[in-house]
Each structure stands twice: as C-alpha cells, then as structure tokens.
Symmetry: C2
Subunit: 245 residues, 2 copies
C-alpha cells in the first residue's frame, strides 16, 4: 500500500489516496485519530467508479469520522481507471439491452455480470483490509457498508474480521448468493429503496429473508434508486455505532 | 372527559387516568409541560386491554415525554373492563381455532373481527382527540403510534389532525383496508416483526406497498411478535421527533 496524496478536509478529516498494487483507493481518518487509540474501520462499498462516486463516498466518510470511525474504499475491478474485462462489458451490455427492452433480466446475465466481479473483488477487499489494519491508528472492529450487495454478502461469509454489515439492496443478486446468505451470521442492516426502478424488490426481500443472522434489520424507503432519505442513512450510521464502538 | 386519578412518575411525567363517557383512558404529559407552550400529542394504539398493556404503554409514554410529547390512550371496544361484543368474541374464537388447527385464516373471519372494531373505535379515538386537544398544555401536531394497524389506517384517512403515523404491522388486515391504505398520504413509519409467528408477512408487505404516502418507511426486524428491538423503537421515536417537533 502506497499513499499517493493527502489532504486535510475542513472538518479535520484526513483524506489519503493510495494504491494497493494497481488498485486505487482512499482512506479517511478522523481528525483526532493520530493522537488517540486505534479507531474502528468501515469499508465503504460502491457500484464502481471512484471519481463518479466520490461526492457520496466522502459524505459517508465525514459522517463516519464524526462517530470516530476510519473509512476506506477501493476501486472495483473493471471500473474507473482499472482495465475493462471484455466479458463483463458484454454482460453489462446484455443487461442494459434487456432493461431497455423492458424484458425480465435473465439469471444467466446476472451471473455473468456479478459472479466474476465478486470472485475478483472480494480478495482485493481482503488484501486492502490486511494493509489498512497494519497502519498505525487503524484498529478494529471492521464493518462493511454499501453495495455491491453480492460483494458484501461474500465478504460477510468469508472474512471473519468483518463483524457487522450495512448493505444496500440496490443491485442484481445471482441466485447462488441466496445460499451464501444463509451462512451469514453477523448483524445486518439492509437499506432497500422500495420504488427502485432498476431493482428487483422481491429478490431483495427474498435475500433479506435468507440471511442467517439473528439480528437483521430491513429499512425500506421511497425515493428511487439514489433517493435514500437522510433519516435512513442516519439509521444505518447508528447501526455501526452500536456494533463497532 | 373526567380525570379519575393522577400520579407523578419518578421522571416527572404526570400520569392521569380519565374516563370519556364509559371509556377509560390514560394521559401522560412531560414534567415541564404545564409551565411551557402546548406540546404535541401522540395517540398510543394497542391491541386492547389497558391493564395488561400498561407496562409497555408507560414505557412508550416516558420515552415520548423525554422528547417533549404528551401521549394518550383509550381502551378498545370489547377489551379490558368494557362490555364484550358476542359477535367479536365469536370471531376471535373462530380465529384462534383456525390458528390452532394450522389453517389459513379466512378473510371472512378477519372481516368479522376487525371491521366492526375499526367502525366503533375510530370515532372514539376522534372524540378522545377532541377532549385532549381542549386541555391546557396539549397542542398539536398529533401523531398515531402502534396497532391495531387497521385503526391506524382508518384514522390516517379520516382524521386530518393526525399528521404522522407509526404503525405496528402485527395484526390481521381486512382486505378492504388495502383500498383505504391507498388514500393515506401522511408520513408513515411501519414496524414489522419479520419472524412474527402470528402474522401474515406478505399481507404486511402488500399493505406497506399500498400506502399512498410519498414518505413511508418499513423497518423490519427479528425477535418475534413482541420482540421489537430497542433500536427499532428508538427509530420510530425519532420519526415522531422529525414530524411533530
């Protein structure tokens, strides 16, 4: 892990860009972090494209910093400045064609799009976690927050350092993930946009039902895919405060 | 409305029992209320039986009082010390028989049980509201919180003084209520116990979908019918703070 730039935001949060091998990422730490005990860490998931997602990511990072948490994110395989995969681009084109034609999206397309992404991304998030937890000032426990929900589910199953996950049910879910969901036992907070035009609500509800966790919350709201209300974001933040503090 | 007793709770909350005609009820006001401006009011819904429900009701009342809200509740028709209705008792017996036999509950039984209750209870809650809002120290806006969800839905449609409702999706819903739900436009916060053994989860989800409100939140949790987690109760309380303060 190599830091490539750093800046102090106006609320004192330290933002550091880094690369992990060829993967770009960003780490945010609370202004008070260096002087005090190691802080918990939240991994910020997103749909890919750090530049495009930056405004929303930094808002979540500032909010978490105010609660005393460090946050970090990395670029997804095939997104942003990272090399494209021809197979993933083809799957994405097939998905958009189906959506534009108003056809149901074939499970086979979702599998081609999401499963290779999960296979590649999850070890990268784990490698990032190794590097981040080796830094002074970053301790645990660790949470995962956001989408892609399939990445969050796999991480919740395979990565014991993650003790709580706040998932955004806003992306397509391969059928194989439902079996993995049964193996998840950590506390979960799932945000669902009830009127998300590009999402399969029933699949999201089925996935929530499948999770094996004894403590799981579904918080569903109106406002479309990107219209998560402030109160729901605040509620998800309080979930992490309960489980990571 | 006639006050029959009063006591000051240890946190300063004033608890007053009253009767409205033959209907018993309880009013809780914050310790600071008499000295200051009129406070908002939350009507506390419940499944019937004020004595049995008292511990949970007073806990909700204290929580609301800490936020600066008065709360009030009245006994339901046919519950507690109020006269039984033979037809309602028969419907209740039929319902329990179906549940114990593991049979699906007939819509006809739910209609016989719930519709007359709604018809009778809703004007009583409105009469209570008239009397409560005439008291010094009780102002508006007014919220409705809790079950029976069918009573909350009807009140949300017919009672313009109620500006926000936090509903508990824990009871049977007559099919006719789904049409009424489409007419609800006030902000809603719906608590659902995902693993509620005595409830029809799909009906609760369908009802949530039917509500016409642009602002509606579904907060679903584990823990069975009576196991609403503290965090969900707190979230519902914050909903009222946002809409009544």
């Amino acid at each position: 892990m190599r830091f490539t730039s750093e800046q102090r935001l106006d609320d004192g949060v330290l933002e550091r860009a880094f690369t992990l091998g060829e993967i770009p990422g960003i780490l945010w730490t609370p202004g008070s972090a260096s002087a005090s005990a190691p802080v918990p860490l939240i991994l910020l998931g997103h749909p890919g494209g750090l530049h495009k997602m930056y405004p929303r990511l930094v808002a979540r990072a500032r909010h978490s910093a105010a609660e005393g948490f460090a946050t970090a994110t990395i670029e997804l395989p095939g997104s942003g400045d990272r090399p494209r995969s021809a197979a993933a681009e083809q799957a994405r084109a097939d998905l958009h064609r189906a959506l534009e034609a108003g056809e149901p999206v074939d499970d086979e397309i979702v599998d081609r799009l999401v499963l290779p992404l999960v296979e590649k991304a999850v070890p990268e998030w784990q490698a990032a976690l190794d590097a981040l937890l080796a830094l002074p000032g970053i301790g645990g426990p660790v949470g995962y927050s956001g989408g892609v929900i399939a990445i969050g589910v796999r991480l919740a199953v395979v990565e014991p350092r993650i003790v709580a996950a706040g998932l955004f049910a806003g992306s397509f879910v391969p059928r194989a993930l439902f079996e993995e969901a049964r193996q998840v036992t950590i506390p979960l907070y799932v945000l669902l946009q009830w009127d998300d035009e590009g999402n399969d609500r029933q699949a999201a509800l089925d996935l929530f039902d499948a999770f094996g966790s004894k403590e799981k919350t579904l918080n569903a709201n109106m406002g479309g895919h990107t219209g998560v209300p402030q109160s729901a974001g605040d509620a998800a933040a309080r979930f992490f405060t309960r489980h990571l503090s």
